[in-house]
Symmetry: C2
Amino acid sequence: MARPSPCASCKRRRRRCATDCIFAPYFPSDDPQKFAVVHKVFGTSNVRKMLQELPVHQRGYAVRSLVYEAKAWAIDRVYGCVGYIASLKNQLAEAQNQVSELQKQLDVAQAQELDLNHAANKRNFDLNQRPSREDGPSGLN
Amino acid sequence: MARPSPCASCKRRRRRCATDCIFAPYFPSDDPQKFAVVHKVFGTSNVRKMLQELPVHQRGYAVRSLVYEAKAWAIDRVYGCVGYIASLKNQLAEAQNQVSELQKQLDVAQAQELDLNHAANKRNFDLNQRPSREDGPSGLN
């Protein structure tokens, strides 16, 4: 039995769209561009093979990845999404350097805070051992 | 004039490798796997079209990206390198949160250090205004 409306892949190839067409669940006829972009980069035959090698519940995720990569190739014809990976790696390295640098600064600041607290406590202790103006010199009270 | 050794693409397709073969500079015959992995994912015809659309000096970079993506598909048949992109995005978000958190902690630590320094300076000032045991009470010297 043929579908009333062939999927975007069958429509493009002007073929009958069988009820068990492997593309139909992921490439609806009302979004021909989604299939066209994937077809241009990977080719219908390769996409079919890739989907056939996967269990049904994983095919939707694979199609999303294929569409993502194909769109990246449409935007960047030299690096595709590998350019984005390189950019993410650089951003990650930069953020990790910042983490490392901030951690060092925080360690220094916390060590200085400890020193200052220690010095303040010591001064308070010394001060308490020292007679105030009101106490007068020892032995005169 | 045919090359003495056909490139990996022509060898695979059992074709004559012309001196201007578009694949030859990037897919040497001694590394058939490099072409095989790209062919499996993108198909020879698509790779040829993608390379033809680029100026010669950018084709090597495009081939590296194609090989990278194809290898990622060989490792992860569901997400390809898009899985790696998702992982990098998560790591980046985590590192950026760490930067933000550490920056807040550093701001607090530096503010406390300022307060402690201020308090210590104030105490030193007060102390200098206060007579010591050796000075004796004012008016008795």
